[in-house]
């Protein structure tokens, strides 16, 4: 391989570039990014940056010395031609490659009504520019903030609003915040955290319409519970959309669910034949995780971006491919607690508290599926978590008999309460995305405005 092109200049793209160099690749290395910035870290954007404790311009990622890369920033890729081996940029330039890595990630799912989304005061949060403008809006002291969607991002934003002393309403279509990712049972703890911290939490509720004044400034939101809420700021936190449109017509197995690749991160083409020179990593990838029976997973976690990118880059230059098979893992800081997870809670059918105390907001919950451990979530108990990764790797019996000193007297599993796909307004950040690369049926996205139950006939 003489030239490698990495499309996507964020965490996954950077880590892949570093791995290529670390493994001895001496050829031409190009990174293409749609944002004009060098790679920066996104997790603080919904935490300390939004709270004003850190500048959105100061989360640049630590970078290996001597990367010797050509950076093409501020110009998105708009096409991939596998026959001529070229990536096309929006300005018309064509960048040739011997091998290419697709790491274009995701973007915030927009509010479905473009006119309402364009109102002054309506925000999404994904990049540092988003964080800068939302931070300025919050610092101006709006009378009320509406957060649409109670996933991790929405909950972290609500938490920051309360820290700043702002009145905040969270509208979540599912039965609880975080229910899409962790289920209704664990979500009930999240609901208590929201309410203890003064969030006006509306579950089983959607936002039907956002209303502007004559100057195009947001001033009210119509909720499905009938309330018309005066708000100056609304944050749309409905999950992410994978950036795959630029691959239309490329012949790859790419659709809104992601780009399908094998466990060695090699992309599948639309005929379900694995390619040898196109690789995929990070939020945009769907792959059959060896630990989950070949189900195609899409994992939008920081840790997955790092490890999948490193595996993909290794496989771009190595003689023997290695699989990407680490357990999904993530963290979230909100309402003063740390929430850390390992495994895949979204496939669980039951959950049980195995250590600590929910009442004291310091506990570990283990998730099971058909009598096997599949995930664990630790609330303010991070040091307990690594042991659970071993149980999950080993598919240990559920509920696990840990005999922990801080364990409950009896293990009492309850239904995990994972929603049917599309029920929560937020999408889980690690999810099973359906069968193989050639499946024709892409599930239709549910309109986030439609409530779960039909309104009564009048």
């Amino acid at each position: 391989m003489r030239s490698a092109v990495i499309v996507g200049a964020s965490l996954a793209g950077l880590r892949a570039a570093e791995t290529l160099r670390a493994e001895g690749f001496t050829g031409e290395l190009t990174l293409i990014g749609d944002e004009p910035y060098e790679p920066y870290d996104r997790p603080p954007l919904s935490k300390q940056v939004l709270a004003g404790r850190a500048s959105p311009a100061h989360t640049a990622l630590v970078m290996a010395e001597d990367l010797r890369a050509r950076w093409l920033l501020g110009e998105p890729a708009t096409g991939l031609d596998l026959r001529t081996r070229q990536v096309r940029l929006s300005g018309g330039r064509e960048i040739g490659f011997d091998r290419v890595l697709i790491a274009t990630g995701t973007r915030a799912r927009p509010w479905p009504d473009p006119a309402e989304a364009a109102l002054d005061g309506v925000f999404t949060l994904r990049g540092r520019d988003d964080a800068a403008s939302l931070q300025a809006a919050l610092a101006a002291g709006p009378s009320r903030v509406l957060v649409i969607g109670g996933g991790f991002t929405g909950s972290e934003i609500a938490s920051v609003c309360r820290e700043m002393g702002l009145a905040v309403t969270v509208a979540e279509r599912g039965p609880a915040p975080l229910a899409g990712a962790l289920g209704a049972a664990a979500g009930s703890v999240a609901a208590r955290l929201h309410r203890e911290h003064g969030v006006d939490l509306r579950v089983n509720t959607t936002v039907m319409a956002l209303e502007g004044d004559a100057d195009g400034r947001l001033h009210a939101a119509h909720l499905s519970d009938g309330d018309v809420l005066p708000v100056e700021v609304a944050v749309v936190a409905l999950g992410a959309v994978r950036n795959t449109e630029w691959l239309a017509g490329s012949g790859l197995a790419a659709d809104p669910r992601g780009v399908v690749c094998d466990a060695a991160c090699r992309a599948f083409d639309a005929d379900a034949i694995v390619t040898s020179d196109v690789f995929v990593a990070g939020d945009v990838a769907r792959w059959p995780h060896p630990h989950y029976d070949g189900l195609l997973l899409a994992v939008e976690h920081w840790d997955n971006a790092v490890r999948q990118a490193s595996t993909a880059a290794h496989n771009m230059v190595a003689d023997r491919p290695r699989p990407h098979r680490g357990l999904p893992a993530f963290w979230s800081y909100q309402f003063g607690v740390s929430i850390k997870s390992v495994g895949l809670p979204t496939i669980a059918d039951e959950v049980v508290v195995t250590q600590g105390s929910v009442a004291e907001r310091r506990f570990v919950a283990c998730f099971g599926r058909q009598g096997r451990c599949v995930a664990a979530v630790a609330v303010d108990a991070p040091r307990a978590l690594p042991a659970y990764a071993d149980l999950i790797e080993a598919a240990a019996p559920f509920p696990p008999d840990l005999r922990a000193a801080d364990g409950p007297r009896a293990l009492l599993p309850v239904p995990a309460g994972l929603a049917v796909d599309g029920q929560s307004t937020h999408s889980p950040t690690a999810a099973v995305t359906g069968p193989g690369p050639t499946a024709r049926e892409v599930p239709r996205e549910r309109d986030p405005r439609s409530p779960l139950t039909a309104p009564p006939l009048e």
């Binding site: 850190a54 100061h58 630590v62 010395e65 976690h301 893992a329 607690v337």
Partner: protein
Amino acid sequence: MRVLVDLNRCLSYGQCVFAAPAVFRFHGAESLEYDYAPADAMREQVREAAAACPVQAISYSPDDRA
């Protein structure tokens, strides 16, 4: 200089907070927060923090880039 903590790996032992309190802090009992771009004068403290981390979650820029 630049600092990055792998918060997935971080288990909140807090050794970095003792070693470099101007760079690392807890925001809540177990939620580590840190300065991504501390002044270069902090380099020695950050180096000590990274060395003290029981799970080796801290990396920092090797040179004096902003």
